[in-house]
Amino acid sequence: MTDNDPAQVFRVEAQELLDQIEQALLDLEKSPGDADLIAQVFRAMHTLKGSGAMFGFDALAGFAHACETAFDRVRKGLVKATPKLIASVLAAEDHLRALAEGKNVPEDEGAALLASIEAAMAAGSPAPTAPEPEPEKSWRIRFSLARDALVNGTRPLALLDELRALGPCEIAPLTGDIPNLETLQPTDCHLGWDIHLKTRHPRAAIEEVFIFVGDDAALTIELVPLASAAGHVVSEAASPVAANDKPAAAQAIGYTVRVPAERLDELMNRVGELVIAQSRLKQVVAFSNDANLHSVAEEIERLASELRDSMMNVRMVPISQLFGRFRRLIHDLARDTGKTIDFRTSGETTELDKNVIERLADPLIHLIRNSADHGLETAEERRAAGKPDAGRITLSARQAGTEVVISVSDDGRGVDLNRVRAKAERSGLLAPGAPTSDAEILQLLFAPGFSTAEKVTNLSGRGVGMDVVKRTVESLRGTIDIANRPGSGAEVALRLPLTLAIIDGLLVRIGQGRYVIPLASVEECVELTTDQDQRSRGRSFLTLRGQLVPFIRLRELFATGTVPDKYQKIVVVSTGSERVGLVVDQILGDHQTVIKPLSSFHAGIGTFSGATILGDGGVALILDVPHLVAAGQQQEDRLRAAG
């Protein structure tokens, strides 16, 4: 499962580091003096430089080094983290991303970016350059360890190895302090070493080796004139310090379990196929009297379902991944529109299927752009309307049953319904003067090609309209709604199923056809006797524990033209607060369903959300519960209105 291509591992790591840098920079913009944030940027740049160099991303390492050097000065308080500096480092971060992705970036772009960072740094100090390597020096190191060093886990041999890594060494053990056998405490350490080391590294690097033994061991580190050391035969192979870092790094790569997304998808497909095969097995076994076969089939069913659940869990990722990306967008939007934007997020820990999250990025970018561009007013307009200067955009996520609701809301001017109507009439989407409800007008926003922007701005009108947003959300089996509060803002809510791909379903028969009802929305199944059926004609309600629940005769809705079964069933489904009964002819049982989206030809049919292939090769349509519940409620409203 592990991906052992170091370059790929590095790329993934680099993306994460760059995300960290970006977040820290954006936070830094708010609290410019925050030492922790500055240190975070510095450390991430430092790591990026180190790993980049190790995996051969030299250009990236060099560039990261320059940024690191710049931030080091900020860290040391020599330069202030001004908005200008933050902006240029953000730009540099984009350059680093391109380098990490291996894109061909013109060299002068990097130079220009560095120049802008330099310019942003206050005192116009000289361009950061790599420090001159120190000249090679010769050192004499003597050390003997504390008595309890071996028992306490000090590894003198490892210390000697670290010294060898600094440069050519001549190592002589000192055994003179070892007592005779009779008095020897064999677990005590009586050993010492005398070492000649030639290295370009500073004294601090040598001291670093002895960090844990320095204070309770006898340690001397002396500089010796080169001439006196020249005569020594260098017995140990010289190994540059990089050689020392490599085993550790290689080890880190070997054990990292980062799985490329494609492999996860592949695995998901296999699990999907397994689930179908298992369904078929179940149907075949149903005709058998073989108890052993039944028991094996049950075992496989259990395993397949567990496997599916684990797979689902693997695919669930927190939405914070997605939300994090928008902070940068807001930064850019604020800069481009000249509006002050107070961006808030909530529910970042809400988890969603990885695929859903990825496909939501573009729609959300569009919605946020819309809010910033059209929704929020300018500071003057806001002041006039008695609102604070900073416009607020809130991005929130929460789980509601089997759905996740993601909403983008702002406290801007809201949608101007008159303007939408006028625009729709001009473009022929709406007959002039036709009586239209507010809700219907809002729906026009999703019509292909509709855009309320009078002038196409750089930010929104980019050919991607709300219709594309709607289509994307619907392809994810989600729905989109707008809540408009004229004068005080708008909220666009996306409701998405927790996961794609596989759902648990209840397989039912209506007439000759088989249909799947998502099990998560099924509340209960009750019988509808012929008697009840006759009595309820005209008023399709049943009383369920004292509550009236409207029901829909699917046989009639689908116009099957068949005679109802003698014992029809009502499957009561709900979407949170609202319930509706679906009358079916027969309940066939549980069915794990791999959802195939309907072709675009059928996409307009609201009653179905997809199709699935059954174990016997037949096809069943998956009922769209929210749609049916809404239809049931309308029926109820009509009847209520009629009295």
């Binding site: 450390r43 430092h46 790591t47 504390a146 309890d148 071996l150 028992v151 306490n152 886990g153 000090t154 590894r155 041999l157 490892a158 190895d161 670290e162 677990t187 960090i211 844990f212 204070d215 309770d216 550790a248 080890q251 880190a252 070997g254 054990y255 990292t256």
Partner: protein
């Protein structure tokens, strides 16, 4: 891959250590205080123990002393977490049998470097 035990009463410190060292491929176990750490260390053999000093039930120094009386932990590195580079605390912990220390707060890099250093035979 080495078996590492992190003993700290702060779940977030344990988690931080776990993430940093798990990333290096080590198998990291947790204990919330010295007593729990000593018990776990008795049951399983760890290649490295990282411990906080101030903890409820049993503090880190007591745990280190206890472990060092166990032949199985002779020569096994034990690092302690310390907030300050206080030489007094360091020498006390080293006298109890600690191999070295990690200064809090630590970053993953620093922690990895130290762990690689002490795990080297």
């Amino acid at each position: 891959m080495s078996a590492i035990l992190i003993v700290d009463d702060s779940a977030s410190i344990r988690q931080a250590v776990k993430i940093a060292l798990g990333g290096l491929g080590h198998n990291v176990s947790e204990a919330a205080n010295g007593a729990e750490g000593a018990t776990k260390a008795d049951v399983a053999r760890f290649d490295l123990i990282i411990t906080d000093l101030n903890m409820p039930v049993m503090d880190g120094l007591t745990m280190i002393r206890k472990l060092r009386t166990n032949a199985a932990y002779t020569g096994v590195p034990i690092l302690f977490l310390t907030t300050e580079s206080d030489p007094g605390i360091k020498s006390q912990a080293k006298a109890a049998g600690a191999t070295g220390w990690i200064t809090k707060p630590f970053d993953a890099d620093q922690l990895s470097r130290i762990v690689i250093k002490v795990l080297a035979k």
